[in-house]
């Protein structure tokens, strides 16, 4: 068996040489993406006055430039995993377009298109076939997708395992013989085997112990540096996200409500939900003085999404306008890289029930703030009234 020079063997993040990608366009661009699930009997749903369609992802625009690591954060049920699965082609979409390298991906993707977006799943105990050896798993993949010529499969497999820090003996081992961290390495090797352009990692470390998490996070970081990999990381752990990602998109009830470069988001979060989310992170130094939680209440059921702004039932600064108008994701006038879907983002903020986390007050005055200012005097005394009735009915209820 011949050993080829290293650079032909390593999986490359760039596409095959023949298909030159447009130089400056984003690697992936999704517009108005929506995914819904229909649930149970519509009769029962009607009796409960509920929609029997769950809108998991409800009109999302997302752009990932080549080589970037984008994080998708949000509570469980916010639709972040569904969005990731839709981008990877594992989930049928209701509407919306996904462009990869400027080319619209059809609903049924060709094998070549499937290769370009690969996923790493949360639980390495259930995402690997227990009856295949690691070598068998990778060989099958390489054969089906014709990644390398048949006589190079063996050496390419070893190369891949070396890339994720596993030795040659891993080839003939079964998943059960590995620890959780090693399994996740196998899963990453499997995803990289097809030389994807985008790696989608859905909570890749949350099933692992703390000391093992670090090895996987370091591996992902090294792979990015080494292969120029574009990464979409889904996580609820903001410390992990800050460590690994260039940009963060925050999701709430099926929508992206704020996008910004990582450090901008941590320095001046604009959406009240983002502010609460950042304030709720447990810190290594004691901060939890006082009894006021960062965000009150439970997220509403995705079957009963509030009219207007989706966050208004829990929002400390909700105003009448929030009930009437659904705020669109709008870029800041001062910083086009920073967008937020709040009527009061990047501008003066109405009186809050509780003082909010730092950063909300500063910024360029934006047009969105104006209509609410007119309504302010009437409500400033107790804006809680506006939000409360809805709050009581949503809190804690699950159908």
């Amino acid at each position: 068996m011949s050993t080829l020079p290293q650079d032909t063997e390593l999986p490359r993040a760039t596409g095959p040489a023949g298909l030159a990608p447009p130089p400056d366009g984003p690697l992936l661009e999704a517009t108005d993406l929506a995914v819904s699930f229909s649930l149970g009997s519509s009769l029962i749903a009607r009796m409960r006055h509920e929609a029997h369609v769950l809108h998991a992802v409800d009109g999302v625009d997302i752009t990932i430039p080549r080589g970037e690591a984008l994080a998708l954060v949000g509570e469980s049920g916010s639709g972040k995993s569904t969005l990731a699965r839709a981008l990877a082609g594992l989930q049928r979409t209701d509407r919306g377009k996904i462009r990869l390298d400027g080319k619209v991906l059809p609903t049924r993707r060709s094998r070549a298109d499937q290769r370009k977006i690969q996923m790493v799943f949360q639980d390495p105990y259930s995402s690997l076939n227990p009856r295949l050896t690691v070598g068998g798993m990778l060989h099958e993949l390489l054969r089906v997708h014709h990644v390398v010529p048949g006589n190079e499969v063996q050496s390419y497999t070893r190369e891949l395992l070396g890339l994720v820090g596993l030795g040659e003996e891993a080839v003939s081992a079964y998943p059960r013989q590995f620890s959780g961290g090693q399994r996740q390495r196998v899963a990453i090797a499997r995803a990289l085997a097809l030389r994807p352009e985008l790696l989608v990692a859905d909570e890749p470390v949350s099933a692992l112990d703390v000391s093992v998490q670090a090895t996987i996070l370091n591996l992902l970081q090294d792979l990015r540096a080494e292969l120029g990999l574009t990464l979409l990381l889904i996580s609820h752990n903001l410390a992990v996200v800050r460590h690994l990602c260039d940009r963060i998109a925050v999701m709430y009830l099926g929508r992206i409500i704020e996008v910004a470069p990582t450090e901008t988001l941590f320095a001046s979060p604009q959406h009240p939900y983002t502010q609460g989310l950042l304030a709720a992170i447990p810190r290594m130094t004691f901060t939890a003085e006082g009894d006021v939680p960062a965000v009150k209440g439970d997220p509403p059921s995705p079957l009963r999404i509030p009219a207007g702004c989706r966050f208004r039932t829990r929002c400390p600064i909700a105003q009448p306008i929030c009930e009437q108008q659904d705020p669109a994701l709008t870029a800041s006038a001062g910083d086009p890289a920073h967008s937020a879907a709040c009527h009061f983002a990047f501008g003066p903020v109405p009186a809050a029930r509780e003082p909010q986390a730092a950063g909300a007050g500063a910024g360029v005055p934006a047009n969105a703030a104006n209509p609410a200012n007119a309504a302010n005097p009437a409500n400033a005394a107790n804006p809680a009234n506006a939000a409360n009735p809805a709050n009581a009915s949503d809190e804690g209820m699950r159908p």
């Binding site: 509570e75 469980s76 620890s179 112990d209 703390v210 000391s211 093992v212 998490q213 670090a214 090895t215 996070l217 370091n218 970081q221 609820h236 752990n237 903001l238 410390a239 992990v240 800050r242 460590h243 609460g276 989310l277 304030a279 709720a280 992170i281 447990p282 810190r283 290594m284 130094t285 004691f286 901060t287 939890a288 006082g290 009894d291 006021v292 939680p293 960062a294 965000v295 009150k296 439970d298 997220p299 009581a392 809190e395 804690g396 209820m397 699950r398």
Partner: protein, 334 residues
């Protein structure tokens, strides 16, 4: 300090496994003073949950306490029968589990589940117990308690279910609450709500807490004292701030360094090499030595005892000064 509320003395828990006897807890000693919160951290398999379960006598059937004492108000819980333990569970010690859905009775209304304890232990009649349950539901922040009293657990969200668990734990005014990763299954914002609620209620009623988790920042928010477990033993103990800022055991140092800190992002995380040892045949000497970067000859021979190195701070490391040196040099670099 006066007599601690709970004193665990050289506790051993063994599990009969297929490959031999697993020493899940191997000589753990722990004191919980009245009104304080003690955190117990470690990786999965370190024995932290087993220690907690042994305290309350709710070990899985294949595990048993082979040695040691669990003293609560002078009584040794480790040698009490089930009927006597039942008198203690509730009015003296309560427990909050990680997954409230599997800890709550799915076919019983939540109000009745909260009212059950006061009826059995406090001698209340149904009406009194129901009133108490409603008051407790209000205290833990369940909206509209009169109506939600009649709901079933599946009608609640995860955070609300954990509030129900807290209400049940508080229902008989225990002196000690044991928490087994109570917020691990919850979202960050809900975790924040529950942690604040729990610390406030315990402060108000002077209840002690033993809090098991693998999440160091959570411990920093909730606990006064911290004990770090590794391979069935406590390797470091002290006040939370001191242990987290000046770790004196390489394993603690490893834990602190391997988790990304949201306020101080590092360029690269320092993972602990290797994997936790088998608890059937743990390594000789210090159990951490095969993974320890400071390990010397003597570490492979001598099993280091937990010894006091500073007021209220003990470590089971023969070369703890090296940890301190490393922490100091890093502090100087920053």
């Amino acid at each position: 300090m006066s007599q601690p509320l709970l004193q665990v003395d050289d506790l051993h828990v063994q599990i009969a496994g297929r490959r031999g006897i697993v020493r899940a807890v191997d000589g753990v000693s722990l004191e919980v003073p009245t009104g304080e919160a003690v955190g117990l951290v470690g990786e999965s398999g370190s024995g932290k949950s087993m220690t907690l379960r042994a305290i309350l006598g709710v070990l899985p059937p294949e595990a048993r306490v082979t040695a040691g004492r669990v003293l609560l108000d002078g009584a040794d819980l480790a040698h009490l029968g089930n009927s006597q333990l039942n008198k203690i569970r509730g009015p003296k010690i309560a427990m909050i589990f990680q997954e409230p859905m599997s800890a709550l009775n799915p076919v019983m209304r939540v109000g009745s589940q909260i009212a059950e304890g006061p009826q059995v232990h406090l001698g209340m009649n149904r009406r009194q117990a129901a009133e108490r349950a409603i008051e407790l539901m209000r205290r833990v922040g369940i909206p509209d308690p009169e109506r939600r009293y009649r709901s079933f657990p599946h009608e609640f969200s995860g955070g609300m279910r954990q509030r129900v668990m807290i209400a049940i734990a508080l229902s008989c005014e225990p002196e000690l609450i044991l928490c087994d990763e109570p917020t691990t299954a919850l979202d960050v914002t809900i975790q924040d709500q529950i942690l604040r609620l729990l610390t406030r209620l315990c402060r108000e009623s002077g209840t002690s807490l033993v809090f098991v988790t693998h999440d160091l920042p959570v411990v920093a928010q909730v606990c006064d004292q911290l004990a770090v477990m590794y391979a069935g033993r406590i390797v470091e103990r002290g006040s939370v701030q001191e242990v987290l800022t000046q770790p004196c055991h390489p394993y603690t140092l490893g834990l602190v360094r391997s988790a990304p800190d949201v306020d101080h992002p590092r360029s690269s995380l320092e993972a602990i090499p290797g994997a936790p040892p088998s608890l059937v045949s743990p390594p000789a000497g210090c159990r951490f030595h095969p993974r320890c970067k400071f390990a010397e000859e003597d570490c492979t021979v001598t099993e280091p005892p937990l010894r006091l190195i500073d007021a209220g701070h003990s470590t089971a490391c023969l070369h703890f000064e090296r940890c301190l040196d490393e922490v100091r040099t890093e502090g100087a670099d920053r």
